[in-house]
């Protein structure tokens, strides 16, 4: 039988034909799948955009439109079918330029806002295709749940007392109006929030009524303060003006912050549990049952009588004269809210009477060992870096080091062996 052999030329031609065939075949094959690929790329892109949009929503919108786009007070809900079916152009226009005569400001950078066109298109995606439950979780996880409710109820007894004052009717109307419309940004009792300045303030009262009225009617350009001329009638504006100018005669607590539970997610509960174990359990006991150092928390009497806002305030500011420190100095609002949410989760199963435990050692010693901060700071020293790097040596590192060193040594030894056997290319004169 004749032996079958290929010359180099034939192999070359064969390989060339195979390569050409691959090109010719793969392009149509790819083209067939292209439509599906575009679809899946679009879906993947939408997922990424929605993810960004949820964070943007948490940072910029949730304060007025609510945790999950449900709308608060006069602010319209975003999670409604009418908006979802609206065309992208109108939504883009509304977000970019705001709605004249309402509290909706312009968000486009060139119009004084903080979002670029790409981010606005992501917000439109969120309105049209977003998952509002996920959005709520994002808002809570970022610690951006609105601190202040959009509306509240004025305290009935104080309101009656205000009405009894001379010319008190209009002041009471102002208090009611403030509780409904203004408290979201200007805060309980008009003491201000991070969004807007205090109105219950001597410097505000020092301004002329005309100036104040103009601000209420027309708003302040470039800020969140909208013009209220279209939403409020003249009597309401007069009432608001009366409240702002005569606030010193309104007793504190007239417009209280209502009881509003801190929103929680699985992640925030886990964070709260971790923080409780690290920072609180040394005094309040591992299950919050209390100890010789601090009162029980996991007990019905405490949990039913203390609102989330109150717990948050105690944790943030501490209790002067006791060993309860002001945790606001070391934990963020998100972390404190997570702890509050975690404590609240005990309420259902909390016993009527707590059984305090005895704990060992001073509270700060336990803390230092368990918080991550000390370890992190150690890593900055060069020595700790070396040890951590050496500690990370494992079988993969050993394989890598041995193979690289082995390869290098093999190359060197083989080359050395060869060199010893080969005569010099240009023998030096006089040598053998």
């Amino acid at each position: 039988m004749k032996k079958f052999t290929l010359s180099l030329n034939q192999i070359e031609i064969l390989v060339g034909i195979i390569a050409t065939a691959l090109i010719v075949l793969s392009i149509p094959l790819y083209a067939v799948n292209e439509a599906a690929r575009l679809e899946s790329a679009k879906a993947a892109q939408l997922g990424l955009d929605l993810d960004d949009a949820m964070s943007l929503y948490a940072e910029n919108c949730s304060v007025c439109h609510g945790l999950a786009g449900e709308g608060i007070g006069a602010t319209p809900p975003l999670n409604n079918p009418a908006l979802q079916s609206m065309d992208a152009g109108s939504l883009t226009k509304t977000i970019s330029r705001g709605l004249y005569g309402t509290a909706m400001p312009a968000w486009q950078i060139e119009d004084g806002g903080s979002l670029n066109d790409y981010q606005i298109s992501q917000m439109v995606d969120l309105i049209q295709a977003g998952n509002w439950q996920e959005t709520q979780d994002r808002v809570v996880n970022l610690g951006l749940a609105p601190q202040v409710p959009f509306t509240t109820q004025p305290d009935a007894t104080i309101l009656a007392a205000i009405k009894a004052q001379a010319d008190g009717e209009i002041l009471a109307a102002g208090v009611t109006l403030f509780a409904e419309q203004c408290v979201a940004c200007h805060g309980a009792d008009g003491l201000g929030t991070s969004l807007a300045p205090a109105l219950n303030d001597p410097t505000v009262r020092a301004k002329t009524p005309a100036e104040l009225e103009r601000t209420i009617r027309l708003g302040v350009p470039g800020t969140l303060m909208a013009g209220w001329e279209k939403s409020l009638d003249d009597t309401q504006i007069a009432a608001a003006l009366a409240l702002i100018t005569r606030w010193e005669s309104v007793p504190a607590g007239a417009i209280p912050a209502p009881n509003r539970p801190v929103p929680v997610t699985e992640e925030s509960l886990a964070l709260g549990a971790d923080l409780f174990a690290a920072s609180c359990s040394n005094c309040h006991g591992p299950e919050g049952q209390g100890s010789q150092r601090a009162p029980a928390l996991n007990v019905r009497s405490f949990l039913t009588n203390t609102t989330d806002q109150a717990i948050q305030q105690i944790v943030t500011l501490g209790v002067p004269g006791t060993s309860m420190p002001a945790w606001g100095d070391r934990l963020t609002d998100t972390e404190i809210q997570a702890i509050v949410g975690f404590l609240r989760s005990w309420e259902e199963s909390a016993p009527e009477v707590a059984t305090p435990t005895r704990v060992q050692g001073p509270w700060w010693r336990g803390n230092a060992a368990q918080t991550g901060h000390t370890q992190a700071s150690n890593q900055n020293t060069p020595w700790a870096q070396t040890t951590s790097w050496v500690q990370s040596l494992d079988w993969r590192a050993a394989v890598l080091i041995l193979s690289v060193a082995g390869l290098a040594l093999a190359m060197i030894l083989f080359a050395g062996y060869k060199l010893k056997r080969l005569a010099p290319s240009n023998p030096v004169m006089g040598e053998k």
Binding site: V15, N116, D117
Partner: protein, 465 residues
């Protein structure tokens, strides 16, 4: 001889058929010359080439592959340009649309991306091939310099193209990469601002880089490439491969370019086209979130081919690591053909049998010494502290540089004494040692540097970058 066909058959179709018909074999010198003049291939190549230059394992087709990649880049580049606006944030949106809204947009972008990165590797390999076979000697010096110029252009093209997708990867790689420029004394800051069109990477930078990427650099590449090809022919074609034992001019039978050379070129081109097309279809080019000047990734790394340079900055004062050493390196490459001149070893891979062993030795030593030195410098050496009171340019710049140069000198002396290496073998040894050190540094920079540019294992490198 009147070849005009009868009037009845003189339709446009007939004229076309006549024009496209294969030429008859020329019988007289005049029509032979005419045939050469009419042939594009024979303008590029001589009509006959020494058979031995066609050996696959001599050239590896690297120069031709670089040319092919350049053509692919030019063609895909034009299509990408049709779908691109050089202004933020539209640039990023355009790239997104290319991926999710344009037929073959993704494949086109991948093809451009992978070809561009392959071109850097191929250019460097081509440089190595020419160096290893002494291909720059005896009249080919100028072409070596042209090649070096094109290598810089290829790096420039890749670097300017890196910014265009306007994602986080692009933004921070260019921020880190251009900051290296500002270490040049006196004019560094000015150059940096000129390049960026402002104090930091922004809209002006994108437009600058776009203009450089699509007009200046391609034009320069076309000019230099034509000159390079023309010089290859004027310098007498490729150097002819030769075994170490062969003395004198290598003898080689000459074969006709068509079909011997052209067939191999075509096969090689088809192989790489197939590889690249499959690669582009299967492996997506990276794209991160939109550029955000407020959120910097940690670690922020330069493009991969500059990671050797960035790694050097961790061990030397910036003026030494980013300016003096690169200039020394490029300067050495430029004067190589004028100091490494032995015509006897042109075409011999690694100069001689001993050269082959010495090159292997140098590569092994580079592989061993470079990581050892990086570890030593990371954990033990602390020149600025030991020489406190001295300016860091001396303590952390000139002192380590002097030690490195002394080390090279010692290596050179060592191989001279131990193995009685001659001048060109020593040049080869040092070149291979330094090149393998550069490769090792680049690999360390890419795979072993984590957050804060601290040493980590590759499997601990987070996907952040």
């Amino acid at each position: 001889m009147d070849k005009t066909p009868p009037l009845a058959n003189n339709t446009p179709l007939d004229r076309m058929r006549q024009r496209l018909a294969p030429p008859e074999y020329p019988h007289d010198d005049r029509s032979r010359m005419r045939m050469v003049m009419d042939s594009l291939i024979l303008h590029l190549h001589p009509s006959k080439v020494p058979e031995r230059t066609l050996t696959w394992t001599y050239t590896w087709g690297l120069g031709g592959l670089a040319g092919l990649l350049t053509m692919i880049l030019a063609i895909t580049g034009v299509f990408l340009q049709m779908n691109y606006t050089p202004a933020p944030p539209q640039a990023y949106l355009d790239v997104l649309a290319l991926r999710s809204n344009t037929w073959f947009g993704d494949a086109l972008r991948n093809l451009h991306h992978w070809s561009a990165n392959l071109l850097i590797v191929v250019s460097l390999l081509h440089l190595l091939r020419v160096f290893f076979t002494g291909g720059y000697r005896r009249g080919r010096e100028l072409n070596w310099l042209l090649g070096l110029g094109m290598l810089l252009l290829v790096l420039g093209a890749n670097f300017t193209g890196y910014l265009l997708p306007w994602d986080q990867l692009a933004f921070w790689a260019i921020t880190v990469g251009t900051s290296i420029v500002s270490y040049i004394p006196l004019i560094g800051d000015f150059l940096n601002r000129l390049l960026l069109g402002g104090p930091e990477v922004g809209a002006a930078t994108l437009l600058n880089f776009y203009a450089l990427h699509i007009s200046f650099i391609p034009i320069m590449v076309v000019i230099l490439m034509s000159y390079h090809f023309w010089r290859v022919r004027k310098d007498g074609g490729l150097t002819v491969p030769k075994s170490p034992e062969e003395k004198g001019e290598p003898k080689s039978e000459r074969v006709t370019t068509i079909p011997h050379l052209v067939r191999r070129e075509l096969v090689w081109a088809m192989i790489w086209l197939a590889i690249l097309i499959l690669w582009a279809m299967l492996v997506p080019a990276p794209l991160e979130g939109i550029a955000n000047p407020l959120v910097s990734p940690n670690p922020a790394k330069a493009p991969w081919y500059f990671m050797g340079l960035q790694e050097m900055l961790l061990h030397f004062h910036p003026l030494v690591g980013a300016v003096i050493i690169p200039i020394l390196g490029l300067g050495t490459l430029a004067i190589l053909p004028f100091i490494d001149i032995n015509p006897e070893t042109i075409g011999v891979y690694f100069r001689s049998r001993r050269g082959q062993a010495l090159a292997l030795l140098a590569a092994g030593l580079g592989l061993l010494i470079t990581p050892a030195w990086v570890l030593l410098d990371e954990f033990v050496l602390d020149w600025p502290a030991w020489l406190s009171g001295w300016p860091t340019f001396i303590s952390n710049g000139l002192v380590p540089l002097a030690i490195v140069l002394l080390g090279l000198f010692a290596l050179d002396e060592g191989i001279q004494r131990l193995f009685r290496a001659d001048a060109e073998e020593r040049t080869l040894f040092l070149f291979v040692f330094l090149f393998s050190a550069l490769i090792v540094l680049t690999l360390i920079g890419i795979f072993f540097r984590g957050a804060g540019m601290a040493l980590v294992w590759p499997w601990e490198l987070t996907a952040g970058h």
